[in-house]
Symmetry: C2
Subunit: 215 residues, 2 copies
């Protein structure tokens, strides 16, 4: 019997589909385990159990634990980047910054694990995505700072330092994901309801938009 028998029984397209589906299952499990246990605390066995696969299969799809982690971080980074489309198309700070806050709060609710993995990566000195910080993120930041500065120059908002305003927006919106456990505990042990998420988003928007002098 040929040990490669399955190669001839399963089409190339089928194998590609199996690979894509397994990679997705593994990445979802890895994101959760890395978020809840940290990189050092996460084990391939834990991720394998969460994904419902034998541990060896993880090494078949991702050569090392670090390669798997790297892919998780990259996926999150992509989500962050596209959260600011509202920024570029907005006529002014009310729509631009208000919309950015709404988009980032929605991401915090939808991708809490990804946000935590990102926070953990940065807190530990960005050993894996340092090059991204120095290239992509730096350019992204410079572009948005320019937009904010233009609004200031046009008199559309109070003269606020664009850099620190961006940091404030990142901090407040990601806090609801990264410190979600603390917020949940202070909410009587219950996750925030739809109404409470709306309340949080509206409060952040109200304070910031008033704080930059546009309402």
């Amino acid at each position: 019997m040929n040990p490669n028998a399955q190669v001839s029984r399963i089409s190339k397209g089928k194998r590609t589909e199996i690979r894509r589906e397994n990679e997705r299952v593994i990445l979802d499990a890895a994101e959760k385990v890395f978020a809840e246990a940290g990189y050092g605390g996460a084990t391939m066995q834990l991720i394998a159990d969460m994904a419902g696969l034998p541990k060896a299969n993880l090494h078949y799809y991702f050569p090392t634990k670090e390669a798997l982690y790297r892919q998780v971080v990259r996926n999150i980074f992509e989500i962050w980047l596209h959260a600011a489309d509202t920024f570029d198309e907005a006529p002014g700070p009310v729509e631009g910054i208000g919309g950015y806050i709404e988009a980032k709060m929605a991401i915090s609710r939808r991708h809490p694990f990804g946000s935590k993995v990102w926070a953990s990566e940065v807190m530990h000195g960005a050993p894996v995505i340092q090059d991204y910080l120095e290239t992509t993120l730096r350019e992204w930041t410079a572009g948005r700072m320019a937009v904010i500065q233009r609004w200031v120059d046009e008199g559309k908002m109070a003269p606020v330092d664009p850099r620190h305003l961006l940091y404030m927006l990142w901090a407040m919106t990601q806090h609801y994901a990264d410190f979600g456990h603390q917020i949940e505990t202070l909410n009587g042990g219950r996750p925030l309801s739809d109404a409470q998420w709306r309340e949080a988003t509206e409060t952040v928007k109200a304070v910031i938009l008033r704080g930059i002098g546009v309402v």
Copy 2:
């Protein structure tokens, strides 16, 4: 020869002093290593090297890695708690909340490792200090929310939800410690200067105080 010979050569007070000094050195090293590597990534060997002691000595002063970690987290928690003395003695939100922002920003600069250990602990579900969240922090939060609500009722500030305002203050001030590496990278790889820390603090204060309608 008596193996306890040193007991008779060293006084009880001297031994207490040695213990206190060694515990301090170990705790300082542990705070830094836990912050930079995470709980799972930190090893007793790394902490011992950082402290300049043999690994076995750590186990002499702290029975387990978890007990050492627990003490590090507790120390940080105490620092957080006393950061809000300005809150209680202030006549209004300008001094109270403005002073709180200044105090928290100063702590972020002075204790960046502690802030990161706390953030990491909360992000991973607070396995060690969950009871503190449910008791001390909950009471602390309720007390400050009452003060803010009183200011709102007295017309001293705009009607802003006290709970989410507190979360915003925590998020923005701690961001400068927890995401310090990212901020440093976006600052050309250099730590923030004295002037830049002042600028950051003033920007946060200006936006928040204007945002709650007191300036």
